[in-house]
Symmetry: C2
Subunit: 335 residues, 2 copies
C-alpha cells in the first residue's frame, strides 16, 4: 500500500519495477548524441503514413510493441494502458493504441505526461489494479508545430528561444517484482502560472513548476539534492534549466551539480538548429526509457529523480492571449 | 486493496464514498426537467466572462468549490484533483482549478471523463494515495460547438441526430468511510472503433463502447441487469440508447427495463430543439452529482451501474475524415 509523506509525496512500499521499455525516434533525434541507444530510428518523418498525426500514432504503436516485448511479455499479459500526448484530444495516443484492445486510461499533462503516466501507473500496479500496465507517450515535431505554432508549410522562422519538439515515443511496462529499475516515490505537481505567454519559450513557463515539485519532494521526504546521482528534468531546455537552478537557489536548494535535462541531451546543443534543446512528451520518454535505463543497467546510476514538465497551453488559450500554466510530476527511480 | 476479477473489473474492498458533490449548469439545462436539483443555474452563457472558455472554467471552479463545501471540507483538506474536459488540452479544467493550488492529475476521456475520474479517483483513495480527492469535469455548448463543429457565429443548422452539448460541470469529493453513496467496482473501458465518422452523431459512435464495457462488467462479476435499480449511461442520447439496447440484445443481455441515459434526462426530449438529447462531460456529471444522488438519498436507488461514454474525436481527426473511436468507463455505485 502507498504511504503519503508530507503534503504531496507518495512512497511505494512494494517493489514496483519497470520490467521492460523502449524508445523510438525520428531522423534528427537519430542523428543526435544518443543515437545508439534508441530502439528504432525512422528516417521518414511520415513513417510511410499519409499524415504527420498518423505517423505519430505509429511511433506510439512501435514504442508500446517494443516495450512489451522488452518485458518478455505479450499484449495479452497487459491489463491496462495509461497514455497521453500533446495533441488536441490526445489523438496520437488514441489512434496509436486503439487496435491493441486494452483497457485504457487517457491522460493529459502535455510534456509532463511521461512522469504522470509513470507515477500513476506505478501506484495502480502497487494497489493491484493490474499486474502489468503499459505507460506511454509521444510527440512529433510536425504535428506539434502545426498544432501550437504554425504549419511547417508556412515556412515560419523559429525563434532562438524555441526548443525543437522531439519526434519520438517511449513506453514502459510496470509490474510488481524485479526489473530494470524500481519506482520508489511519486510527487504529483500543482499547476503553476507565472504569466509567461510566449508559446516559443516553454522552458521559461515550465521552470517554476519543476522548482515547485522538486522542493515539495525534498520537503516531504527530507532528502537532499546530493542524495541523488542525477536530478533529471523532462524538457526545460537551455533557458528553463538556468531558470530552474536560479529558482531553487532562492529556496537554498542547490541542484546545479546533479541536474541535467532530457531536452539538452537528445540533440547536439552546440549546433545552431538545436541550441535551445528539445521538448515534447516524446523527448523525456525516449531519453528515459533508453539512455537513462542503459546507465542504470551499467551501474552508472543508482538513484535519480525524474521530473517531467508540461506546459498546459492550447491553441485556443494561445489565440486568446492567456498565460501558459505549467505542471511538473516527479518520480524517484532507483536500483 | 483493490481486487481484480475477470478481465477488466476491479472491486473496491474498503468503503470508498462520495462524501460531497455538486452540479452546476447553464440556462437551458436550468429550464429542463431536472431544474430543481442543480446547485447553481447560470442565466448568462458567458457567466460574466469575456470568452466561452473562461465561462466553462468558472463552471468548473464553482462545481469544485460547492462539492468540497458539500463534503463539509475546505480546500486544504483535499490532496489531489483528478480532472478533464472536452476541450483541446483540457483548457477549461486547467484554468478552472489552477488557483486552488492542488496536486493535479489531468485526464482525457472526452465525455467518459466523469466515469474515468470517478473510477480512478476511487482507486487512488482506496490505495491511500490521498484522504480526499476531488474529481470533476465540465462542458459548455458554445465552447464545444466552436471546437468540434462550427462557431455559433456561423449560424449553422444542427442536424436532427445531433445531441446538444450540456453547459455544466460536476464535482465530487471521494473519501474513505461513509458518504452519500459507495463506489463498489470500476471497469475501465477499451477503445472501440466502428467506423462512424459523423461528428453530429456521437451516440452511434459511443454505443458500441458502452455495450462492450457493460458486457465486460457483467461477465467479470456474474451480475445480471436486474440486479440493478438503474443502468445509467452518460450521454448516448436517443439514437445511442436504441443502439446500445440492440447491441446488448445480440449478446443475450437485456437492459431495456432498467436502462436510462443522462442525455435523455437533462433536457425535455419532447421539445424539437432537444429531441436527440444532451451530451458533453458536463451532462453526466451534472445529472449524476445532483438528481441521481438525490434519488439515492431518498432510498429510490440502492445499486446502480453508471457508464460514462466518450467519443475520442479531435478537430484534426474530423478534418482528416477519420472514424470516431469511443470508450466507456463503468462505476458501480450503491448505498
Amino acid at each position: 500500500m502507498a504511504r503519503r509523506v508530507g503534503n504531496q509525496t507518495i512512497l511505494l512500499e512494494k517493489d514496483i519495477a519497470i520490467k521492460g521499455c523502449a524508445g523510438v525516434v525520428g531522423k534528427k533525434e537519430g542523428e543526435g548524441p544518443l543515437s545508439k541507444y534508441f530502439d528504432m530510428i525512422f528516417e521518414d518523418e511520415y513513417l510511410g503514413q499519409e499524415t504527420f498525426e498518423a505517423a505519430e500514432s505509429l511511433l506510439v504503436k512501435n514504442a508500446v510493441t517494443l516495450g512489451v516485448k522488452d518485458a518478455g511479455l505479450g499484449m495479452a499479459d497487459i491489463q491496462l494502458v495509461v497514455i497521453g500526448d500533446l495533441l488536441d484530444q490526445s489523438m496520437a495516443s488514441t489512434y496509436g493504441i486503439k487496435d491493441f484492445g486494452l483497457p485504457h486510461i487517457g491522460l493529459f499533462g502535455a510534456c509532463s505526461t511521461c512522469g504522470l503516466s509513470l507515477g500513476l501507473g506505478s501506484l495502480l500496479v502497487e494497489s493491484s489494479v493490474a499486474d502489468n500496465i503499459v505507460v506511454a507517450t509521444s510527440s512529433h515535431f510536425c504535428t506539434a508545430e502545426r498544432q501550437f505554432r504554425f504549419p511547417l508549410e508556412y515556412g515560419s522562422k523559429r525563434t532562438p528561444n524555441s526548443q525543437r519538439t522531439v519526434t519520438g515515443a517511449g513506453a514502459a511496462v510496470l509490474s510488481q517484482g524485479s526489473g530494470k529499475v524500481k519506482i520508489k516515490a511519486v510527487t504529483f505537481g500543482k499547476i503553476k502560472d507565472y504569466d509567461v505567454t510566449d508559446a516559443n519559450n516553454m522552458g521559461a513557463a515550465m521552470a517554476p513548476a519543476a522548482a515547485d515539485t522538486i522542493k515539495a519532494y525534498l520537503d516531504d521526504t527530507g532528502a537532499k539534492p546530493d542524495d541523488f546521482d542525477l536530478i533529471l528534468t523532462g524538457d526545460l531546455g537551455k533557458i528553463g534549466k538556468k531558470l530552474l537552478i536560479e529558482l531553487l537557489q532562492k529556496e537554498n536548494i542547490d541542484i546545479s551539480s546533479v541536474h541535467d535535462d532530457c531536452g539538452l541531451m537528445i540533440f547536439d546543443v552546440n549546433s545552431k538548429d538545436f541550441a535551445a534543446g528539445g521538448s515534447g512528451c516524446g523527448c523525456s520518454a525516449s531519453v528515459l526509457y533508453t539512455y537513462i535505463m542503459d546507465k542504470f543497467e551499467k551501474g552508472e546510476l543508482k538513484r535519480i529523480l525524474f521530473i517531467a514538465t508540461g506546459a498546459l497551453l492550447s491553441p485556443t488559450s494561445s489565440n486568446q492571449g492567456l498565460s501558459i500554466p505549467s505542471i511538473a510530476h516527479l518520480v524517484e527511480l532507483c536500483i
